[in-house]
Amino acid sequence: MSFKKMINSMLMMSLLMPVLAFGQEKLTGLQIIQNVYDRPTGKDQTGELTMTLINSRDDQRVRKIRQYLKNFGQVEKKTMFFISPADVRNTSFMNWSYDEQGRDDDQWIYLPALKRVKRISSDSKSDYFMGSDFTYDDLGDRHPTEDTHNLLREEKYNGESCYVVESIPKEENYMYSKTITWIIKDKWIGLKKEFYDEDDDLLKMLTVKKYEKIKGYWLILHSEMSNSQKDHKTDMLLENVQVDVGVSDDNFTERMMKRGL
């Protein structure tokens, strides 16, 4: 090895070293989002969800729902029963969401007035969930590989050290041109998320108002999604949450949907 070559390789090393060292400490945007996606939330969960829809005139519609969730590995199943308003009481909704990329959710609804369970197909995960400002994707179904993630910066937000990650969808014509998420380090909870429309204008903003560690899992209990363009917002409050209580598989059947609360 000539002196020149040695110098060259040393230079190479010195250039590479910090990068390698840095890479071990600092996570990429994708890794951060993957961590959020993979954050354990328990094997099963029950709780009461209060969804308050508020329009621009401050009219409110309140829906109370009892929900059951269970992770079956490749598929996550969820059943929801309406408690109120009275005219939709016992209407139930079941959703099977698959890990398999590109596979649509299966959804059923039971209308007690019709006494029949019906399949509903949502072609798109960009459908709004029950008239709220959340899409199915917003509710946490969106797989990290569907976007390109860039860590923009790290900063304090609401007293928490956060990663700020920008996610740009790979799919063209997706409903958002990008989202920016503030993620609490180590807890892997998105504390705030901004959604931008195709013209890069702010469309919606998600704010997490309350999160708690229950049975060792970080769970989001209270959040608000506001659509600034439509001046409409949705408040989601999760109460009486119980985790890992051994929810029976029976809860995720048509028979159970019909039985009601």
Binding site: N55, D59, D87, W108, D123
Partner: protein
């Protein structure tokens, strides 16, 4: 007064200078601050309950007028080329800055609620443009099966489909219209594209009317100049008569700009009024001067001007004051632009009076008397003609009165047929693009005009009650079915019937309102889960307390609207029993209410000004009889004007309704000048026949000159490209003619028979 005039006429240069300076100031104001108001909502009284409610409802349900672009393909629309155009045009419209993304409806953006074997599905008709035969025919089948789209977005013969972009009231501009036309043009061939809709009609009218007026008024002025030259036979007289009119117009608009009031569409009528009314003073003054110079050859200008002022100031002031009062009475209108119109026209009329009495004498003092040709034979002939006319009328006194009464009776019959039309479309040529496009779309679809029925209950969730929903559905079917002009309707009921049907395996038997409140609520929840809940808020409010039923009409004229209103009103009782209030909303309805307000205000002001005028005239002539007689030409003019409109099926509109004001303005002028002369000659001669002859010669001459000048000027408007301006020209001319004829015939006869000013002699 004479002292004052003697002083006044020596200050000719000062007067000319002052008028010039103030005119320049006002002109500068006009240039700087004038602003045209084109938003039609600004015209409406915002605190009127009907408007308050409608505006609220528009806000609740996001009710807006839609621009409709129709894509026509003779070979049918189900081919990938045409469908791609639907998609691209929808996207292009959504990208326009004036259009909200969610406000564009087309086959591409619409939701298809379909029943599948397993349940319900709400999804777009197509996302990627179908290109295989099977996918095209599947789309065709989907559309045929969906009553919410078939016949609404796609014509039943499948050759036309529409893209609707709803836009706000204040969005439309000519640039936007041309942008739309250019956009549509890029999609032409083999498809044909048509652009229509109320915003276009409204916007084009607001633009076309005043622009046409701007083009026509100079021509009107030129014609008036020519006729003035002919009757006055003097360039100087013509120039000053015209200056009086033009300067008073500049002052009126200058003042308007100075106090920050925008120019409304009705304001473009101000010059029309001032031209028609303002030339009268000049003509009467010059006509008097001319006759004085004839009978006193070689008279000095100072003496002639003094005589003119002395003899004529009274009628000039009287006519101007009464005319101004007539316009001021428009303050009783609830419509602000009309109030402003009244006030500023009154101001212009008063200014015209001041200029006539200051500027015309100053002009003569500064630039000399008009030259008159010593054509005595002609004058003698004229004099003889007027005398003969007076004698003729005298001989046929009773016939004159009888004919007048007969005409009055026919007019009253005609008036009973007068209808007010708030239509914008009817203001365009029958073969104009706008009318033809509108017809085209009305032929294939529900209609280009909309009427919104707002149902309102005090109960929460009222519009989930089957009884109320059934009543709504019955109303829709009844109104749709019984009236040709109603193309279709759209409401919450259509969503529910559609869902009920598809949830029952597409069975037509279930194309009805579900029979339980729970089922309704659950369907709605289902829709919110699978569809776009935003769509629901256009037909019902958040708490299901208010609902919006949209009727599509094939015409925007008042007869069509009223027939729909009458049909809907039949259901009032039914809704009342269910605790539901029914109101109307939307731009068409507001237009209708607005026209009624204008008409009502116009009638109120007409009656009020008639009373004021009779009172004023009685006071001025110090005789009630004279006051009543003086009001005859106004009455006749108004009667005939409205009578003709009724008989010839010319509907009242915002412009034509204002014409009754002209009737007052002109009618008074003629009457006052005539009576004033009559009175003077009666006192001079003491002989009734001599008085008649001289009055006819003096006043009758000026009146006929006046009438000829204005009629000639306004007949020019018959060549206007904008039909309302043509109607305006015809009606102003008619009013001038009837005022003139009424004055020299029936008013004269009444004056002659009443023996006022002769009592002592007889």
């Amino acid at each position: 007064m004479n002292r004052f005039f003697e002083k006044l006429i020596t200050k000719q240069w000062l007067i000319l200078a002052i008028v010039l300076i103030v005119t320049i100031l006002f002109f500068w104001q006009m240039k700087q601050n004038s602003r045209m108001e084109t938003d039609l909502d600004e015209y409406m009284p915002q605190d009127h309950p009907a408007f308050v409610y409608s505006n609220q409802a528009e806000d609740w349900f996001n009710i807006k007028d839609g621009v409709i672009i129709a894509i026509e393909n003779e070979q049918g629309i189900y081919n990938s080329g045409t469908l791609n155009k639907v998609k691209q045009l929808t996207k292009a419209l959504q990208k326009m800055e004036q259009v909200h993304k969610d406000d564009v409806t087309s086959l591409y953006s619409a939701d298809n609620i379909i029943g599948t074997e397993e349940g319900l599905d709400v999804k777009p008709f197509f996302d990627r443009v179908p290109d295989s035969d099977s996918s095209l025919s599947k789309l065709q089948q989907n559309v045929r099966n969906n009553e919410m789209v078939f016949g609404r977005l796609v014509s039943t013969d499948e050759k036309v489909t529409i893209v609707v972009a709803e836009i706000g009231d204040d969005v439309f501009s000519q640039e936007f219209y041309h942008e739309l036309l250019d956009l549509a043009k890029t999609y032409e061939g083999p498809e044909k594209l048509h652009v229509a809709g109320r915003p276009i009609v409204e916007g084009t009218m607001a633009y076309l009317g005043p622009r046409d007026m701007q083009r026509m008024v100079p021509i009107v002025i030129v014609v008036i100049i020519l006729v003035l030259l002919f009757v006055l036979r003097s360039v100087k007289s013509t120039i000053f008569t015209l200056l009086v009119v033009l300067i008073s117009t500049v002052w009126a608009f200058g003042l308007m700009a100075a106090v920050g009031i925008p120019i409304y569409a009705v304001s473009t009528m101000i010059p029309v009024m001032l031209i028609a009314i303002g030339v009268a003073d000049g003509i009467h003054l010059y006509s008097h001067l001319f006759l004085f110079m004839k009978s006193n050859p070689g008279v000095g200008k100072k003496e002639a001007v003094l005589d003119m002022l002395k003899e004529m100031w009274k009628p000039v002031v009287m006519t101007s004051v009464t005319t101004a009062v007539g316009f001021i009475s428009l303050l009783t209108s609830e419509v602000y632009p009309i109030k402003y119109f009244g006030v500023f026209t009154a101001f212009g009329v008063m200014m015209a009076m001041v200029f006539s009495l200051a500027l015309i004498p100053a002009g003569i003092m500064a630039f000399g008397l008009p030259k008159i040709k010593q054509d005595s034979k002609n004058i003698g002939e004229q004099g003889r003609a007027f005398t003969a006319f007076a004698l003729f009328i005298n001989r046929h006194k009773y016939a004159t009165i009888f004919v007048s009464i007969a005409i009055g009776a026919v007019s009253i019959f005609g008036m009973s047929k007068v209808w007010i039309n708030s239509s914008f479309l009817d203001k365009f040529e029958k073969d104009s693009d706008i009318v033809l496009t509108d017809k085209f779309i009305n032929k294939y679809f529900g209609g280009t005009s909309t009427l919104n029925v707002i149902l309102d209950s005090s109960e929460l969730d009222a519009f989930k009650e089957p009884a109320i929903l059934t009543a709504m559905d019955q109303m829709q079917q009844d109104v749709d079915g019984s009236l040709e002009v109603v193309g279709n309707s759209f409401a919450l009921t259509d969503y529910l019937k559609r869902m009920n049907k598809v949830m029952h395996a597409d069975s037509e038997k279930y194309n009805i309102i579900p029979d339980s409140k729970e089922l309704v609520a659950q369907y709605l929840l289902l829709y919110e889960m699978s569809g776009d809940p935003e769509n629901l808020w256009q037909v019902v409010d958040y708490n299901y307390q208010k609902a919006n039923v949209t009727f599509q009409l094939k015409s925007d004229n008042s007869k069509a609207l009223n027939s729909a209103l009458a049909a809907i009103d039949r259901h009032l009782g039914n809704f009342k029993n269910l605790g539901v209030k029914l109101n109307y909303a939307g731009s068409g309805y507001k237009g209708l209410v607005f026209s009624d307000l204008i008409l009502e205000g116009q009638i109120k002001s007409l009656i009020l000004s008639l009373i004021i005028v009779i009172a004023l005239l009685s006071f001025m002539f110090k005789k009630i009889t004279a006051g009543v007689i003086g009001a005859v030409p106004i009455t006749i003019t108004a009667f005939i004007s409205f009578g003709v409109m009724g008989l010839f099926n010319i509907p009242l509109s915002t412009t034509t309704a204002l014409l009754s004001s002209i009737a007052i303005g002109i009618g008074i002028d003629y009457g006052v000048h005539f009576i004033e002369r009559y009175k003077i000659y009666a006192q001079e001669t003491g002989d009734k026949n001599e008085t008649s002859r001289q009055t006819m010669h003096h006043s009758g001459r000026a009146i006929i000159f006046n009438a000829v000048v204005v009629i000639a000027g306004f007949l020019v408007l018959l060549f206007s490209v904008f039909p309302p301006n043509r109607a305006l020209g015809a009606l102003v001319s008619l009013n001038m003619f009837t005022s003139f004829l009424g004055t020299v015939t029936v008013m004269y006869v009444l004056l002659y028979m009443s023996n006022i000013y002769f009592k002592k002699k007889k």
